[in-house]
Symmetry: C2
Subunit: 474 residues, 2 copies
């Protein structure tokens, strides 16, 4: 029997889609990648995923897992492969509040997990814009980041156990709830961030944390990026590590912001080069319980700390959110980043990371390089500064392939020289394959190929993603 009828027998006709019915699975949310899959299979559980993968393997058809379609790198694009949607694996199998764990399937939407944790007074501390669509399977497969990584780590740090269907259809049961386990190789982390090229993640044991009882948010101005790092460390010291977000919005960002969203406006009457959004979060009642006069101790702590830092000359200007509305307004300034990016085309964007103390060096070096390559090009920077993760965008007048390549080369030359990464939180997919060829340590790349060939010898798991072909142009 050929693959599609066999899949229909296995999954039921309603769960094997072909033709136009595949469109919504085959197109990513930005509309950048739109493929034509052979079909979309929608298995209902792990056993069905395993049987689907086995069938596809028997037919020599590539399998490309897809969950929320919110990726940014084309990792779920396929022409002729079988898209395996995990959307029906959407059960939260169990939440065990005393152990602070949630056992979830790959198709659970991130915000669904947020809501479920909240009913237990707990929090799943992974937070980013696409949380209403992104699913756990994709979150794990891309080791998603976001704005809380500073405090809680990336997805990898939040995962205790994993269930994976291997390329030959076997089920790998690593569903550990353990905090210590040294019984052999760390297989779990090999599949997290592998973007479906080694197997298909079907379920996971995720850590939960106590829900913050209070937040305190401020927008600050400092003199320079090195001062910003000093500020971060001073804030962490003063609060005992309560900083949950530390976001950088420089002058170029603010200029675009006020042009596009005049309703939001600048935080300070006097523009500053280095603006930081900082948020603290506390779970201790002593910091979170309002005083009789309504003031929250955490807000007082932030205020007195900032007063000290202003006295020391480290902080030039500061404004503290006094209400939920003011907090939202501060975040709106940061979350307008996507709008800013979309407002002016063409844009050359990047998702880079450098060591925490090298962010300033990157910006100091890229500016004169760009002045030569793309004179007059505008730039916009916005950063998860506490992680050294920058989204640095260039708006050249001329969108030619050649200019694009020269700008990316200039950015990545400096990033590489500083020990940074060309892909901080979005992954590789298709869009960063050239960067993998050019920038990744050749021994590391060779080792990745060795592992890929060993685990997926037929090369049928999301082929062509993450690892560039050996003879790729550099």
């Amino acid at each position: 029997m050929s693959l599609i009828p066999a899949l229909k027998t296995l999954l039921g006709d309603a769960h094997v889609l072909t033709g136009p019915d595949t469109a919504r699975y085959a197109r990513d949310w930005m509309g950048t990648y739109e493929g034509i899959p052979l079909a979309v299979a929608r298995p209902a559980n792990t056993a069905e995923v395993a049987a689907t993968v086995k069938l596809a393997a028997d037919h020599g058809i590539p399998v490309i897992p897809v969950s929320g379609n919110t990726g940014l790198t084309g990792a779920t694009y396929t022409e002729g492969g079988l898209l395996l949607s995990t959307e029906r694996l959407n059960r939260i199998r169990e939440i065990r509040p005393a152990s602070r764990i949630a056992i979830v399937e790959a198709g659970v939407i991130l915000s669904t997990l947020h809501d479920a944790a909240e009913t237990h007074g707990l929090y799943f501390p992974l937070w980013f814009g696409a949380r209403g669509s992104a699913m756990i399977g994709g979150v794990l497969s891309t080791n998603a980041g976001g704005s809380n990584v500073l405090r809680y780590g990336s997805t990898r740090a939040l995962c205790l156990g994993l269930e994976v269907v291997l390329p030959d259809g076997r089920i790998l049961d690593l569903m550990s709830e353990l905090h210590k386990d040294n019984s052999g190789y760390d297989l779990k982390n090999l599949f997290i961030g592998a973007e479906g090229t080694l197997g298909i993640i079907t379920a996971a044991v995720m850590k939960l944390v106590p829900a913050p009882l209070a937040h305190a948010t401020a927008t600050l101005a400092v003199r320079s990026l090195p001062d910003a790092l000093t500020l971060l460390n001073r804030l962490q010291a003063a609060t005992g590590g309560l900083v949950e977000a530390f976001e950088y919005m420089p002058a170029d960002y603010m200029r675009r912001l006020v042009a596009i969203r005049p309703d939001i406006g600048r935080p300070f009457a006097t523009p500053h080069d280095t603006t930081i959004l900082v948020e603290l979060a506390a779970t201790a009642p002593a910091l979170a319980t309002p005083a009789p006069d309504g003031t929250v101790p955490l807000a007082d702590l932030l205020e007195s700390t900032l007063a000290d830092l202003m006295e020391d000359g480290l902080v030039l200007d500061a404004t503290i959110a006094r209400s939920t509305a003011q907090r939202s307004a501060m975040w709106a300034r940061r979350e307008a980043a996507a709008e800013i990016g979309a407002a002016v085309k063409p844009m050359i964007d990047s998702d880079i990371a450098v060591p925490l103390d090298k962010v300033a060096t990157f910006l100091d070096r890229i500016t004169p390089r760009l002045a030569t390559i793309a004179p007059g090009a505008d730039t916009v920077t916005v950063a998860h500064l506490g992680d050294g993760n920058l989204h640095f965008s260039v708006y050249p007048g001329d969108p030619s392939k050649d200019l694009y390549d020269r700008v990316i080369t200039a950015i990545e030359d400096i990033v590489q020289d500083l020990g940074g990464s060309f892909s901080a939180e979005h992954g590789v997919g298709l869009s960063k394959l050239n960067s993998m060829s050019r920038r990744k340590d050749p021994v590391a790349l060779d080792l990745m190929r060795t592992i890929k060939s060993a685990i997926d010898p037929a090369g049928l798991m999301n082929p062509g993603k993450v690892i560039p072909p050996k003879d790729a142009r550099k």
Copy 2:
């Protein structure tokens, strides 16, 4: 040229030891394993490690890395292989306090790193008994745990970057300082915990944290282990997650303790079944700075929290350390575990982990099983309870191989049934190979073999460790 003269040419005569000079490298600290290596090579740097591994590979001689010799599983035992000591790779290459990182070589002793971090007001938060001898290379290769894992994670969680010499002598440079990097597979975690079977770790980038400014320590009694988990969660909630150690010492432990160390004595006049040592640590000055009357806010917080918990009936009895001497005395009670273990032989010990909410179930089930298998056998339990990690020891009268096997089988049957691990923090080495055969998920074990064969096709990296032979007796 045969291997030893070639090594002498490479490293210098003084750094290739043979015969009796190899003894101190070939024997583990407990004296359980004592092998006869072909020689001990002592390369001075990564390039020399690479050249040593290449030479050994060319001669078909196995290479077994050794650092502080403090392992407990025979992972550095060899008959006829080349012991590669990392002790001369002992430089702290760099500490960058603003970025909270230390770049260290594999031969740096753990306590040396502690001291170096301390000079910057920072802390490397991995803490266990052998810290004065254990070296970073071994710490990483075994993913060492200890008593702070609850707060800071195992070694894996503290490592940002790694340098590894591969089985063919190539150097894999993963010396990232980044907090976000999604540029391909997570190779780093594959080598951490692999016990030298995939390559030799030569250097690493480790995270540092702010040094605690104050500790508050107490010994508590609760009614049951489920109550202990409730207690842990209540303490975390009340303090905003400041619990740094949560150690369990039940009645069987206390009985042995008073017998062997009458100088230490019981914590309470009335013996309790479930005694907990808890320690909080604070980095926030608001909790750490003594009031004019000398009281430390963190200690006040612990005291008032415990008062509430006693009022609620959750805590039966409590004593708080009022001085450094009292704190040390409380820890002496816990740290006597090694002495207790050594005092009475023969002992059947274990290093197991179960989910946090299954510790009580394990003990409830093992007791009647042991009563059948080894009637009258004494047991001693001590646990890093906050991680679900138990060191459960059985003292049968009869030390026969058969009884040993039946006791281990009984323990591991229950552990496996509860989703636990037979090796929580010590690793596999030689001593847990049988458990790997019997207990590890067969798909996981097969995948480990696949990875091992792919990365080390000649099978020369620490052969015979971690992965049992395929035809092993079960």
